[in-house]
Every structure is written in structure tokens, then in C-alpha cells.
């Protein structure tokens, strides 16, 4: 097990974890990422070696009092070393501990390791916004509550629990079981029924579904899964993130790579306009003034605001530009009776005329490059999911032959 800590300030804690891990029959490998004083516990991988892996001289940086530079050096070097150790099959789990700086360094190292590889971070700042630490990786953030300063029975207990947890996870193995081909599906609260139906249709055709919450972060995680070649096809049923990105809504946070990976890598994809009818806001994600007066559907503390014709055109342009570049088979499937639980007959945001603006604009952009099929159903109706799966399955099959 790789243990990552700043051994100048957390030397005693790292030594405690090392002994704990050893007691469980696992070999510890202690990496020092300290940038202040000399380590108080001897490391297996000294910080000089860590920094040197990325071409830095840590002593020089410390002498120059370049704190930021030293942190960067151990972060980059640690990342390279950890990745190398993983590729050589020399590490099977990683445990980090630290405050603000230690967490930033250790989680950067963890993010470079693949999904499935056990990663636990004992952190004093786990209760703050951890988005930049966790990103789209399967990191376990363990809140230390108390500062990791001085060894006391509470910190010893948490460090022991964390050590046991990583050792346990190593037992589980990091291999994602290879089974049936996986199909990635996007869903969110107001468009989850479609994914639910898709699951049974996919399973009937011999696929496994892997669902991603279209909340900014989830969509980006899916792009990474596609990039790593883990999925056979994509049902992007919920491009809703575009709306929230445009207006600073609840599911914002996608990067320029969203909607781009499948088309670039030639992975078959069916796209539907799920959730493009609305943007979602909450007290923490306030609605911009320019949307005032729009129709609203209350959810909980969150609420959905109807998107108008101008937005429909903009969404069509964003998606159209991406889809037009497709290297592989792409198909657009449109339900004409509403795109979410809020955009449904009898609900506040039901508005097929406005939805149609998107369809017409998209047709104009895609011309004959990508087929668009319209169905006279709501997105949550089983025939819609059935048809989407059918098309995707055909595309995947014809790609195989």
C-alpha cells in the first residue's frame, strides 16, 4: 500500500499507519511529499526522489523559499512515480493524510490512478468543497474532524479505520469484472424513467447499463469512461447539463469535452434531448434575472425554469457542431410529447411548439450527416427507450461485423 503524507508535519501519523498496515499483513510504501522541514519519520521514497521524478530539485526550491514551486514539484513527481508503481504492479491501494496542502497533493496523485484502484484520503478539509480534490474519481474522503496534529486516541482510531478500509478494499481487488458489454446512459431526477426502461431493454439484448448522473460532474465522468474504451455504446438521453451550464444552474460544470468523446472515438451513440426543456436552480444556484417571468416547475428546494425558443436554437447549435464531426455512427431520437417530467402533458413546462424549434434548428445544422427520428411519445414512455436501445444495438452490431 502506498502511503502519501507530508512527513515533516505528519511523520508520526504516517508511522502509525505504516505499523497498522504491516500488522494487517500488507506491505507499506511510505512516500514523503513534505515541503517544509526534514521528515520526522524515514520514508521509503524520499521527497528528493519524488521531486526528481518530475525533474525538480526539492532542496533548491526549499532554499529559495518557493513554497508553491516545491508543492508543484512533489505533486507532479508523486503523480508520475505512483503511476509508474501502479503500472509495474507494485502498489494495490493508496492512503493519504493531510490538511489543505497535503490533501491537494495526495488527491492529485490519486486522481492519476485508474477507477477501481482503492484510494482513501484522511483529510481535515473533507467537509469543504471537495470537487477539485475528488474530481471524477472514486476517492473516499475521510473527514478527520480534528486536526491531524499530535497523535491522540481519536486520530489513532480514524487512521486505523482508514488503514483497515484500504487493506479491506485491496482484498476486493481493483479489477472491474469483465462481463457483458457496457452501455453508458445519462439520467437526472426529471429524466430517470427513460434510463430505467432502457436498462431492461439493454439487458434483454445482452448489455449492462452504466448510468451517469447528468449533473456536470457525472457527464464528464462518462466522457472519461468512453475515452478509456470501457463502453460499447452511449445513450446520451440527458444533455440537460448544457442548459445549466448556460445559466449557471445546478448541473453546471461540464467542460468543452462533453458530448465530444464518443463522436471523436467513433463509439456508437444515440442522443435524445432529455431535460433540455429546463434549467434547474436552487438557493445556492440562483436564477439569473433575465429568466424572471418564465414558467417554473418546483422540485424541492430546487426548481426548473422553462427554456425558450432562443435557447432551443443555441442548444441545437452546440450539439449540432459536435455531432457533425462524428467519426462513427450517431443517431438523434426526439420524443415529440415532452422531454422531462416537467415537460409533460398537464405539467407546468409542457411546450411541444418550443421544443420543435430545437428539432428544426438541429435538422438545419446536421443536414444529412446524422439521422434524426421523431416519435410521437413522451421521453418516459417505454417505446421511446425501446427504440433508442434498438437503434444503438443495431449500430453496435454493424460495427462489429
Amino acid at each position: 500500500m502506498l502511503i502519501v503524507a507530508t512527513l515533516d508535519t505528519k511523520g508520526d501519523h504516517a508511522a502509525y499507519v505504516r505499523d497498522c498496515v504491516r500488522g494487517l499483513g500488507v506491505d507499506p510504501l511510505l512516500m514523503d511529499v513534505g515541503t517544509l522541514e526534514a521528515p520526522s519519520t524515514p520514508p521509503d521514497i524520499p521527497r528528493e526522489e519524488v521531486a526528481a521524478a518530475a525533474g525538480y530539485d526539492i532542496q533548491e526550491l526549499i532554499k529559495a523559499k518557493d513554497r508553491a514551486g516545491a508543492v508543484k514539484a512533489v505533486r507532479e513527481g508523486g503523480t508520475l512515480l505512483a503511476r509508474r508503481l501502479y503500472e509495474e504492479g507494485k502498489i494495490h491501494g493508496v492512503l493519504g493524510m493531510g490538511g489543505g496542502t497535503g490533501t491537494a497533493i495526495a488527491t492529485a496523485i490519486m486522481r492519476s490512478l485508474p477507477f477501481g484502484f482503492p484510494k482513501v484520503m484522511v483529510s481535515t478539509v473533507a467537509s469543504r468543497d471537495v470537487r477539485e480534490y475528488v474530481g471524477i474519481k472514486d476517492i473516499v474522503m475521510f473527514h478527520s474532524v480534528a486536526d491531524i496534529l499530535g497523535l491522540n486516541e481519536f486520530i489513532r482510531l480514524l487512521l486505523a479505520q482508514a488503514s483497515y478500509a484500504v487493506c479491506g478494499m485491496i482484498e476486493a481487488g481493483s479489477e472491474v469484472p469483465k462481463g457483458k458489454p457496457m452501455v453508458a446512459v445519462t439520467a437526472y431526477g426529471l429524466n430517470s424513467t427513460c434510463a430505467f426502461h432502457a436498462q431492461s431493454f439493454l439487458e434483454a439484448k445482452g448489455y449492462e447499463m452504466i448510468a451517469f448522473h447528468a449533473n456536470g460532474c457525472g457527464g464528464m465522468a462518462m466522457e472519461e469512461f468512453i475515452e478509456e474504451g470501457l463502453v460499447a455504446g452511449v445513450l446520451d438521453l440527458t444533455p440537460h447539463e448544457i442548459a445549466d451550464e448556460m445559466f449557471g444552474g445546478y448541473c453546471r460544470g461540464i467542460g468543452p469535452g462533453r458530448f465530444g468523446t464518443a463522436v471523436r472515438k467513433g463509439v456508437p451513440m444515440v442522443l435524445a434531448p432529455g431535460g433540455l426543456d429546463n434549467a434547474v436552480f436552487s438557493p445556492s444556484y440562483p436564477m439569473p434575472d433575465r429568466l424572471r417571468g418564465r414558467r417554473v416547475h418546483p422540485h424541492d428546494v430546487r426548481f426548473c425554469v422553462r427554456m425558450g425558443p432562443e435557447e432551443m436554437k443555441a442548444f441545437a447549435r452546440i450539439l449540432g457542431q459536435k455531432l457533425r464531426k462524428a467519426k462513427g455512427p450517431v443517431y438523434v431520437l426526439i420524443p415529440k410529447r415532452g422531454w422531462s417530467e416537467a415537460d409533460k402533458e398537464g405539467m407546468e413546462l409542457f411546450d411541444p411548439q418550443t421544443d420543435q424549434v430545437f428539432v428544426d434548428e438541429l435538422k438545419g445544422i446536421l443536414k444529412d450527416t446524422v439521422p434524426i427520428e421523431e416519435m410521437d411519445v413522451h421521453i418516459s414512455d417505454p417505446p421511446f427507450a425501446q427504440r433508442a436501445v434498438e437503434i444503438l444495438d443495431e449500430m453496435i452490431r454493424s460495427g462489429r461485423t
Binding site: F154, Y164, E175, A211
Partner: protein, 412 residues
């Protein structure tokens, strides 16, 4: 024979039935007992597999499952189910019938399950597998002051594919391993000396580190807590749980911040836990003469205050005379209720490293407004000791240590 460990699983079986049962079976296969607590607000085919069905949870929450299922008020029904789950889980934990808790969920499920976890004692293993762990701000709401592990599932907890199975397997291994760690009481048994909690902030870190080393030299162990409004509240929860034998409250600024709505606000009960538990406390004043209202909420008065920029994001404003008086009264009221010994130590040459000659907010004369009012309000048994030094001077740490020696249980 090894005692069978019990893991409580908190999940919504209506939407995550298959996934929960997979987790349950993995936990069983690892030799632990699994107890499924169902917080579903709708019915589903897997709901009858619960060990503690939603019906019982709703009843414990003061409602009925029929009412919950019929309701369209999501926020009201989640509150009912959360309340019920807390009551049941606390009962099980108090009886020693639960050794670890694991939850799985999206947004709503994670909010509910972590509310339950935070109501359980510190030290009891708590693992939350959440698909929304990395969303901005969510970890703050899920973890708060709790010792919770937040496991980002990356994929939705929906559909048992290989990826999710792998997450569930790792989560099961992790929680089953964590319950094997001897619990806090057992660790306290083979004690390494009495345990002291200490609050601190960057501007008094030299003092904190000297005091810690001094106490460790006396055979005590010290747990430090950042007094920025979360760590110090957590400390007081742990004090109420009986984990500590004494408190060094170097930075009780959360009290004045609560009065003025500052960012370090530590709630209405700050500075009361040690007194309630009757354990000795040594209190000082780091950060008490400064306030940090959010910049967005600055009034004209705030803008005209003397200020100190701690870093790019944090500016400390000098507290006004009135605020100092009010804070002193709050300190006196809280400390007067203490059932155990209290010593207050005040450095006369500035209350932190922010507060030194040359700093725009340094004003030892005005600080005396607080000191005099505090002395007037405190009952006579509570001693206020002033030291002719700055908080960060070695002499002050020495004085704090001396006070600790007088009131803390020092091992022979």
C-alpha cells in the same frame, strides 16, 4: 469465537433495491451481520426485504408510511423518514447493537443517510457511498462536523453493472474492515494519558504548538481543532460524548461571530460543552476582538472599520466597543454555568499574531473593555489572569500551561 459485527445499511429500497441487496450479500459474505434500514418514501418490490422496514421508520418519525407515500411534499416526508431513521439508529447504537454504518444514495438518499450518521457517536465507522460526493458544496452538507467517509461512486447507483459491483465490493470490504478496529472506548482503556481538546487558529499557532508540546511532556494527549466554525463545533460535540478530560479553548472567537453573523460562527452553544460536562477548561481570546462578516454583507459601518487581510479571501475586521461588551457578557453567561473549573487567560499585548504593534487593528486599550466587562460578569470563583505579552509570545504559552497544570488531571 469472534463476536459477530453488525453493519447497518441505510438505503432506499424502492429505487435502489437490487443494489442494496447486493451490498447486503457482500457484507454477509465477509462474515458480518447486515441490517437493512429502509428509508424509502414509495413502495417497491424489494421493500419487503428490509430488516427495518420503511413502515417502522415512518412510525418512529412520528407519521405513518401511508401518509408518507401519499404525500407530495418531498421535503416534509424526507424530514419524517430522517427523524425516524435517526431515532432507530441511535437506539441500536446505544444498545451496542451496531458496529458500523454504510449508506448508499444519490442526492436525497445521501442527505438523509448522512443526517443519520452525524447523529451517531464519533468513532463509530460511517461510510457513505454517494454518486453526488464530488458535486460542489455537497460534501459540506453530507459530512458537516461528522467523522464520515464519503466514497464517490462516480457512476450512478442504478443498475448492477460490473463497475457498480466493484464499487459495492470495495465499500463492503472497507466497512467490514473498519468495524474490526477496536472502538474508542477500548482504545481509551489502554489509555496513553488523559485526552485534551484544544481549539486553535492560524494566528495563534505558535501558542498552540507550544502548549501542545508542553501538555504532551506532562503525559497528556492533545487533539487540535480548527476554530473556523466547523472544527470547534465538532470538538464540542465530542466533548459532550465524553471523549475528553479537559479543554484548552485558545480561540473561542466563534462566540462573537455568532453574535455578529461572522464566517467563523460556531452556533449558539459554543463555549458551553466543557462546562456542561464538568471537565476543566482553560480559555483564552484568540480572534475574539475581530469579526469576519461575509464581504457581500458588509455595511457602511463594516467598511469603515480597521481591518487586517489574512489572505486573499479572508479579512478580519476589528470588533466594535459594543460588540466587545456584548461578547464579554456572552462569555460570562456561558462560563458561569460551568460545572467544572474554569481559568481565563488574556494576553495584554494583542490576542493573536494579527494583533501586534504595527498592525492596523492592534488596540490593547480597547481590548480592556472586554476584559473589564468579563471580570464584572463572571462569578468570583472564575479567575481571569492577564499576562503582559502577546498571544504568540513564549511567556503566554507558559502561562497557559501553568493554568493547565492547576486544573487538568496530570498523570504521575
Amino acid at each position: 469465537m469472534k463476536e459477530e459485527k453488525v453493519v447497518l445499511i441505510i438505503a432506499t429500497l424502492d429505487t435502489k433495491g437490487e443494489e442494496t441487496l447486493y451490498l447486503r450479500d457482500r457484507i454477509r459474505a465477509l462474515g458480518c451481520r447486515a441490517l437493512v434500514l429502509d428509508i424509502s418514501m414509495r413502495d417497491g418490490p424489494h421493500c419487503r426485504e428490509a430488516d427495518i422496514p420503511a413502515r417502522e421508520v415512518a412510525a418512529a418519525g412520528g407519521s405513518s408510511i401511508e401518509e408518507v407515500q401519499a404525500s407530495k411534499e418531498r421535503s416534509a416526508t424526507t424530514a419524517v423518514m430522517t427523524r425516524g431513521a435517526i431515532a432507530i439508529a441511535k437506539g441500536l447504537s446505544a444498545e451496542g447493537r451496531v458496529h458500523g454504518v454504510i449508506g448508499i444514495g444519490g442526492s436525497t438518499g445521501s442527505l438523509m443517510a448522512t443526517d443519520v450518521m452525524r447523529a451517531l457517536p464519533f468513532g463509530l465507522p460511517k461510510l457513505m457511498v454517494s454518486s453526488t460526493a464530488a458535486l460542489p458544496g455537497m460534501s459540506t452538507r453530507y459530512i458537516g462536523t461528522g467523522d464520515i467517509c464519503l466514497f464517490h461512486s462516480v457512476v450512478e447507483i442504478s443498475g448492477l453493472g460490473g463497475v457498480l459491483k466493484n464499487v459495492m465490493e470495495r465499500a463492503a470490504e472497507a466497512i467490514c474492515a473498519m468495524v474490526d478496529v477496536p472502538p474508542l472506548e477500548a482504545m481509551k482503556g489502554r489509555s496513553r494519558g488523559p485526552s485534551i481538546a484544544m481549539t486553535m487558529l492560524g494566528p495563534c499557532e505558535k501558542c498552540a504548538s507550544r502548549v501542545r508540546r508542553g501538555l504532551e511532556g506532562l503525559g497528556l494527549q492533545v487533539a487540535g481543532f480548527s476554530a473556523a466554525g466547523v472544527g470547534d463545533r465538532a470538538m464540542e460535540e465530542m466533548v459532550r460524548q465524553g471523549i475528553f478530560d479537559g479543554v484548552v479553548d485558545l480561540a473561542p472567537g466563534g462566540v462573537i461571530e455568532h453574535l455578529v453573523g461572522g464566517m467563523r460562527d460556531a452556533g449558539p452553544r459554543r463555549l458551553e460543552a466543557a462546562g456542561e460536562m464538568g471537565i476543566p477548561q482553560v480559555v483564552s481570546t484568540c480572534g475574539v476582538n475581530h469579526i469576519t462578516p461575509p464581504k457581500k454583507a458588509w455595511t457602511e459601518d463594516h467598511k469603515s472599520r480597521r481591518k487586517y487581510d489574512l489572505d486573499r479571501h479572508r479579512t478580519w475586521l476589528r470588533a466594535s466597543r459594543e460588540e466587545l461588551l456584548e461578547a464579554a457578557r456572552a462569555f460570562a453567561t456561558k462560563l458561569n454555568k460551568a460545572k467544572g473549573p474554569v481559568k481565563v487567560l488574556i494576553p495584554l499585548q494583542g490576542w493573536s499574531s494579527v494583533d501586534q504593534p504595527g498592525s492596523p487593528t492592534f488596540d490593547p486599550t480597547e481590548d480592556m473593555v472586554f476584559v473589564e466587562e468579563l471580570k464584572r460578569g463572571l462569578r468570583p470563583e472564575i479567575e481571569v489572569r492577564t499576562v503582559e505579552a502577546n498571544m504568540e509570545d513564549p511567556e503566554f504559552a507558559q502561562a497557559v500551561l501553568e493554568a493547565c497544570r492547576e486544573v487538568f488531571p496530570i498523570p504521575d
